[in-house]
């Protein structure tokens, strides 16, 4: 039996259009054998949560550079809980001040990847996290 491929939704929430990071990560995860769906720009938390349900993803990767993470992340996490998507792994990449990280993790974000993270580090984190999940 082939191993089940990890399904990932890459999303750009908020008004920001700087999508260099989101596109690079989408391609790197795909090259690492994951199935990647990219939402495109300007997704509200509602749109992202619905897409996650519809596409039945294991992982959501949010790219946020605009400083709106403290508003957008908790909104998305509570929508996911409402929709019974508690087991989806949500990671954030972007410009996130260190002082904001504890609250985001408290809200259920599994990991925050700061500028300069290698794509391999992100691939490794997701693979490890989901392998653990499958076993649990």
């Amino acid at each position: 039996m082939p191993e089940k491929r990890i399904r990932v939704l890459i999303a750009k929430p908020g008004l920001d259009g700087h999508d260099r990071g989101a596109k690079v990560i989408a391609r790197a995860l795909r090259d690492a054998g994951m199935e990647v769906i990219y939402t495109g720009l300007r997704q509200t938390p509602e749109m992202i949560a619905s897409a996650a349900v519809q596409e039945d993803v294991d992982v959501i990767g949010l790219s946020i550079l605009s400083g709106a993470h403290n508003t957008l992340c908790p909104q998305l996490m509570s929508l996911l809980r409402e929709k019974g998507m508690d087991d989806v792994t949500v990671v954030v990449g972007g410009i996130i001040p260190g002082a904001d990280i504890p609250a985001l993790k408290q809200a259920g974000i599994a990991e925050i990847f700061l500028p300069g993270t290698s794509t391999q580090a992100i691939v490794d984190f997701i693979q490890k996290k989901r392998a653990h999940h499958e076993r649990a």
Binding site: G14, K23, V24, A26, I95, P97, P115, G116, S118
Partner: protein
């Protein structure tokens, strides 16, 4: 490049200046045999191949053989004269230094007004306004989509009332102002002109620059609202308005900065930016405008990235290409249309969150390349900008960096000090040839709007950006403090924007809507709707709406209704 489209064009342009046709002199061949070969036999070089940060090959040594088809009287010329390789003014920075123009904007209008006034007291010579994302997208601060974004990436401006506060006690007759705004550029510009009028400043004399470059939004920065056709109409409306009403105001800053930040190579930045410039020229000519009426008002904006000589070659090549395009392609007769004027900004994407004080050094070197490349205006990034908008402390060091280059290094004492360098001249030729290949390719697709609709520049940039990331991941390219020379450090003190800005803005908007004449607003917006459906220049109707204190969101919504909105095909 892996893209088959690109490979086609690479062979199209077999330039007589290309290294394949290089014939070294007898002396050079003798040096290779007697001096170089024994050294290489003993100690090989650090890499098999050396390339610029863009992946452009760089040879070991440049000599006269690299410039065999290069004629200094034709290809280099003299400063202030065609083809402007050496700069657009005959005395360059000996006559006048570049404008030190630090981009600033955060919080509400009063917060940014304070920063502006501080920067002017510190010797800054021009203003540059950063707007927040809701403003850039044409939403008021109290729109549901603005939640969490108000005042974060720039200043929140929702109406003329905010603009009046932004420029309070700043004499627009004396200060030149640049405004980084694109889709809603016409509206924000109308607000600025209204403030100038209120201050009694003469529109014929006020000077500044509106970014207003919608094409690079579709290509790279993605802050578009309307589809290309009506967006280009709005740009043309501002061109016409500027020619007649504000002859010293640049209605556009054709920008490569964001293209480069999105991950392009230097050649792509140059080619896409100049081809965007040509697209604007062609639309204006189709509108019936005279090339030499609007030509002198076109200005450019480039990225000052880390590869020192490649950047200098890029600026020099830019001037040569634009001169050729304006004279040969469009038949311009006025030398004021031929000289490419540009603003530059050091590369935000080169800043590292790790060991942030190193960013001061990066920025200084990048700024030096822009100065040596003959820039007219410069923004230097602050050391903390990989984390947040800059603190006053960080912004001051960034400004001081420019002052040190201007007053201590001596690089401004002579014009184009690198002119005649075998390497810089050869690289200038190669960068120019590479850009023309792309320009011809885009011509063959039917122009830039057509190329954008095929996602051609978007794909080329995504490809280059991924390639660079892989090079970093494999340590083929080094970023100090990121993938090598890593150490731990204490966190920085950064600027925090709290949610009280959003509340202040919401309250101000509530008050504005209660106090203005709703009748007057309705009439102005109805006139704008009518004009939008027709073909007339929209600036007068936009100006009337702004003066009636219609909000940015209300004005942009009228045009959203008539023009529709743009959705891109997402590529990964």
């Amino acid at each position: 490049m892996n893209d088959p489209d690109k490979q086609d064009t690479a062979t199209l342009h077999v330039n007589e200046r290309s290294p394949a046709n290089r014939t070294p002199s007898a002396e050079e061949r003798a040096w290779e045999e007697r001096t170089l070969a024994p050294t290489l036999a003993k100690s090989p070089e650090r890499h098999a191949e050396f390339t610029t940060i863009s992946g452009h090959p760089v040879r070991r040594l440049y000599t006269e053989a690299d410039l065999s088809a290069w004629n200094p009287e034709i290809d280099l010329g003299y400063p202030g004269a065609p083809p402007y390789t050496r700069g657009i003014h005959s005395t360059m920075h000996r006559g006048r230094l570049w404008t030190m123009r630090q981009f600033a904007g955060f919080g509400a209008a009063e917060d940014t007004n304070q920063r502006f006034r501080y920067l002017l007291t510190q010797g800054q010579t021009g203003l540059s306004t950063a707007f927040d994302l809701p403003t850039l997208m044409g939403y008021d601060s109290d729109h549901p989509l603005s939640e969490g974004e108000v005042g974060k990436c720039g200043v929140a401006i929702s109406s003329l009332a905010d603009m009046e506060v932004l420029f309070d006690q700043i004499p627009l007759a004396d200060v030149t102002t640049s405004m980084t705004i694109n889709s809603p550029a016409a509206v924000i510009w109308a607000m600025y002109l209204a403030v100038a009028e209120k201050q009694g400043a003469d529109w014929k004399k006020i000077s500044g620059t509106l970014q207003n470059d919608i094409l690079k939004e579709y290509i790279a920065q993605k802050e578009y609202i309307y589809p290309p056709e009506p967006s280009m109409r709005l740009v043309m409306d501002t061109f016409e308005f500027a020619v007649k009403q504000t002859p010293r105001f640049n209605p556009i800053s054709i920008s490569g900065y964001h293209i480069r930040e999105a991950g392009s190579t230097a050649i792509q930045e140059l080619a896409f930016t100049l081809r965007d410039g040509m697209e604007y020229v062609e639309w204006a000519l189709r509108r019936g405008m005279n090339i030499d009426d609007f030509g002198p008002l076109l200005s450019f904006f480039f990225n000052a990235h880390s590869d020192f000589f490649e950047e200098i070659a890029k600026y020099r090549a830019a001037r040569r290409i634009w001169h050729k395009a304006m004279t040969e392609r469009y038949g311009s007769k006025n030398p004021r249309s031929w000289a490419l004027r540009f603003h530059s900004q050091t590369a935000g994407c080169s800043l590292t969150a790790q060991q942030p004080f190193n960013n001061v050094v990066r920025t200084a070197l990048q700024a030096l390349s822009a100065v040596l490349g003959g820039t007219q205006s410069l923004h230097t990034n602050s050391l903390d900008e990989a984390w947040a908008l800059p603190t006053e402390f960080a912004a001051t060091i960034a400004l001081r960096t420019q002052q040190i280059i201007a007053h201590e290094t001596g690089v401004t004492n002579t014009v184009d000090p690198l002119g005649g360098s075998y390497f810089v001249e050869a690289l200038t030729n190669e960068v120019e040839a590479g850009a023309w290949d792309y320009i011809r390719k885009i011509d063959s697709m039917g122009g830039m709007v057509a190329a954008i609709e095929r996602s051609y520049p978007q794909r080329e940039i995504a490809e280059a950006s991924y390639r660079y990331q892989m090079e970093l991941d494999k340590k083929e390219k080094i970023m100090v403090g990121v993938n090598d020379f890593v150490s731990s450090e204490k966190p920085l003190e950064i600027l925090q924007i709290d949610e009280t800005v959003a509340h202040r803005q919401a309250e101000r908007l509530r008050k504005l809507r209660a106090e203005r004449s709703q009748d007057q607003v309705n009439r102005a917006l109805a006139a704008l709707r009518n004009a939008s459906r027709g073909k007339d220049n929209l600036m007068p109707a936009i100006y009337a709406s702004v003066k009636a204190y219609a909000t940015l969101g209300e004005i942009c919504d009228v045009m959203r209704d008539v023009f529709g909105t743009y959705e891109e095909v997402a590529i990964t």
